[in-house]
Amino acid sequence: MKIENKTKEILKEFSPQIENFNRRFKILSAILIVIMLFALYAFYMQEKEGHIVTGMRDNVVWGLYIANFVFFIGISYAGALISGILHLLKVEWRKPIIRVAEFITVISTVIGPLFILLCMGRLDRIYNLVLYGRIQSPIIWDVIAITTYIIGSFLFLYLAMIRDLAILRDSPDLKIGKFRRWSYKFLAIGYNGTAKQDKLLEDSITIMSAIIIPIAVIVHSVLAWIFGMTLRPGWHSTIFAPYFVIAAVFSGTGVLIVALWAYRRYFHLEKYITKKHFDYLGMLLLILAAIYGYFTFSEYLTDWYTSETWNARVLEKLFNFNEYGWWFLFAAIIGILLPMIVIGIPKLRTINSVTAVSFIAVIALWVKRYLIIVPTLETPLFPIQDNRIEWIKYSATWVEWALTLGGVATFIFSFMLLSKYVPIIPVSLVSKPPEKTESLNVEEKVETV
């Protein structure tokens, strides 16, 4: 394939990123591997001793693991919705950030469901889920939806990478190993940039961009229905599906901003990832925070006003500062209002401040997932005899925390490895001239390209 000079220049700029494993990379990798090994030990302990080593008991059967699962599936929206929509609208400024978004999607879509496996008591019986799964069970909907979503996410990322893989294949100056070169050749499936190939690839990407959006919406709706279709207080809500979808896009955007900030700093990508990206994504975060805040208010107002016995019990726990009051204040108020204030006031809106509030919003959303799951389960509907406090009150153990940290470490480490495999900035995309759109007057050029 003939590679244009402009593309060559950009690739040359990124070649150290994929060729060298510097000291900083090695130290960070070592730390992450230690955390992952510790998580593996925790997993071994859990499998050896059973779930008694976790804080989960008969009443609180879900804890950190399910909170993490919902959280990771949520942040996967970064790639699915943001890059899908931006691609369809042919928004020019998407080009440098689209790969980071897609990486987030693929990695978190793989890590998220692992937490379900950790939550299951008998992994050796998992095949029964397939053999005896019932279509009318929301759990099975979730299994089907997430499997479909994982396939779609991989396909979406792969399609978007083919051009870069072909460029890497046809760049003999790159100092990389034989196997890696072979893998580029294999994965580039003979793409040479001919007009026909380009048309086929572009069509495929457009189809995937369009289809990944409803899939993502369905996945998170199904996830919400797992909660919403029970009669439990705090879960049985008709707005749970859109509420979860908005929360997911909110957290996905937040993680995308934080990831862009980290990459910009680590790889010195100031030329490509500019303040404009943080401003635009910040604005998106602001709008999402407003919608999410509206949903949150609506949800709790309805529950509080009707004060149905069981709902009221859960709300009492959420509003009580001796129980979950502080967490609720952080997750449902600070985590929403702070990003709106900081991003909404132009003077406060800097790259660092937008990143900081995005980070706070992401943490707040994780806490929110915890608050959705645990207080409800701590309010059992059955008046059980012998109601020991340790059976009702959930407290995560070191095993759960270790595996949670392991999940985060795997997320970061996978990111690091993937960005060593292909340039984090899509070389083929940024070297292309701006796409013109007729319906939308978006003719912005990436400043430096």
Partner: protein
């Protein structure tokens, strides 16, 4: 010098206290032992005999004591059961439970005397630090009970014949005792009729609208409780005298919403199929396009 005196004073005080402590401890012990001896309580044992429907026999001993004139069960004491009909023969040892009850189950072929030679069953408690020894005995003859279930003029009737077998083929009818008919329910027995045995027989009428299981089965238990010289004798049998139970849940039947329902609602299957087909059609379409991209390369190279 002063220091030496001081030390010897401390020594004297120490020895004085040590002696005092030893005396108190020894005195306390002696007092304690006297108390134990003095406080050994009387134990009362109630002995009952049961003959179950499956012909197994049970001897039930209930041990109790009185504290401030109120009865309290004596738990965790060992009771020895004997058959003393001919000579004292140990037939079992059982420890009392939380309620002070020790039950010994004898096999169905265990022979119980009758007529002039009834069995003499006894229970003995050998005594311990808290309780004095005690024993109790009962004389038991083996009662046979024949129960027949007949519908006479649309009336559900249970006929009971109870007698004691004697030597040879003769028998002595059991008379002047109550007989009760029960139906076995989930947690206990439901009394559905009662009668009075005269000359060894009784007739009890049973309601004809008792709900049974799905097939209309009822498990009847006929019981002669605590009859003098016979103990409690039971007979049980499953009879199709109940009204068959129909599980009627119109809503669940029509909507197939039961948790155990294996079939998913049709609309759900159709919706899911359309969604999956729609998505996977596009996945395959993209896979086909990728295949075409690869093929173009091959054609180019040719």
């Amino acid at each position: 010098m002063n220091r030496k005196n001081k030390n010897s004073d401390i020594g004297k005080i120490f020895y004085y206290y040590l002696t005092l402590v030893v005396i108190i401890v020894l005195a306390g012990n002696a007092e304690g032992q006297q108390e134990v001896k003095a406080k050994r309580s009387k134990i009362r044992i109630k002995l009952e005999y049961f003959k179950k429907g499956d012909n197994t026999k049970q001897i039930k001993a209930t041990a109790s004591t009185r504290v401030k004139r109120k009865p309290f069960p004596v738990k965790m004491v060992t009771l020895n059961f004997y058959d003393e009909t001919d000579s004292a023969k140990l037939i079992g040892t059982v420890e009392t439970n939380e309620k002070g009850i020790a039950t010994l189950t004898l096999p169905s072929d265990y022979s119980i005397g009758n007529g002039d030679n009834p069995s003499l069953l006894s229970v003995r408690f050998d005594g311990n630090e808290s309780f004095k020894s005690a024993s109790k005995e009962i004389r038991i003859s083996d009662m046979e009970m024949n129960v027949t279930y007949k519908i006479i003029d649309s009336v559900y009737t249970v006929n009971i014949d109870a007698y004691e077998k004697t030597e040879g083929e003769s028998s002595i009818p059991v008379s002047d005792v109550d007989v009760y008919v029960y139906v076995k329910r989930l947690f206990s027995l439901l009394k559905v009729g009662e009668g009075w045995l005269q000359d060894g027989s009784a007739t009890v009428e049973i309601p004809n609208d008792l709900p049974g299981d799905k097939e209309g089965n009822l498990k009847f238990v006929v019981m002669i409780p605590d009859a003098e010289g016979y103990g409690t004798v039971e007979s049980d049998e499953v009879v199709k005298w109940g009204k068959p139970l129909k599980v009627q849940n119109k809503y669940a039947d029509e909507n197939k919403r039961a948790l155990w329902e294996p079939r998913a609602p049709l609309w759900m299957v159709i919706t899911l199929s359309i969604l999956l087909l729609g998505v996977f059609y596009h996945y395959f379409l993209i896979a086909f396009k990728l295949y075409k991209i690869k093929k173009i390369r091959k054609n180019d190279s040719v």
